[in-house]
Symmetry: C2
Subunit: 123 residues, 2 copies
Amino acid sequence: MDRDLQRQAGLALAEHHLLAIINEAGEQGIRPTDLALGSTLTKSGLTRAVDRLEALGLIASRVCPTDGRGQLLALTAKGRQKLRRAAPEFFRSVAQHFADHLTERETETLASAFERIAAADRR
Amino acid sequence: MDRDLQRQAGLALAEHHLLAIINEAGEQGIRPTDLALGSTLTKSGLTRAVDRLEALGLIASRVCPTDGRGQLLALTAKGRQKLRRAAPEFFRSVAQHFADHLTERETETLASAFERIAAADRR
DNA sequence: CGGAATAACTTGCGTAGGCAACTAGTTGAT
DNA sequence: ATCAACTAGTTGCCTACGCAAGTTATTCCG
């Protein structure tokens, strides 16, 4: 999937994932710490990934108004566009490599099992 | 799991995985190319991982008698010992992070689904 | 209100691993 | 038998990312 996305959308899978989470947060933005919870990165890895996305102009950060230590990250117009344009290839790739090989029932089982495992890990 | 294994058994999870596959192959050894199929590494990553395991004295390689380009990798006594000693922590960690959060039924579903996905990927 | 404890990042350093290009051995077609 | 095409593995280069230590801001006591 990483190669698919890299070739067809010029975006690494890890970056795509971060953009998708940041997108969920919408206008108001998301704190790096919260972003880390949704990814597999540590805070140091996150610092660098954020730097890269910012350098690419895909996200913008501003100082958090309620906590001077932290930031609030949000997609730029360019970032939203990049994400939107990557979507078809993303879903195609998910289908090809995963979804097409699973029944509906299996997909649901995986989803709930993974959710439970991830929740346990966050503690 | 990587951290668990690293701390308790002095072995990275990726290395453990390779040792386990090589162990399956037994006395006769396994070709790096076949080893790559069971791991997530590319052949270049594999070259280096093999170098490391060899430098640690955990595996030994000999030239393949039927194909002068290739090698046959097998565990050394030290490698077998390392793997055996890591086993308790490995299974404990699997249980803690995964198995304990799944029902029998889910575990079976995941196993067969993953097997199907991996098989599709090998093509 | 002042200082210790904590939290949110950041940075220096080191390692793993991918890609593309390379070397060397094997196979297959003429 | 030869030479092209392929396959096994290796290497140079570069990037991502973890860990541990550092910086700055916040919180929580006393």
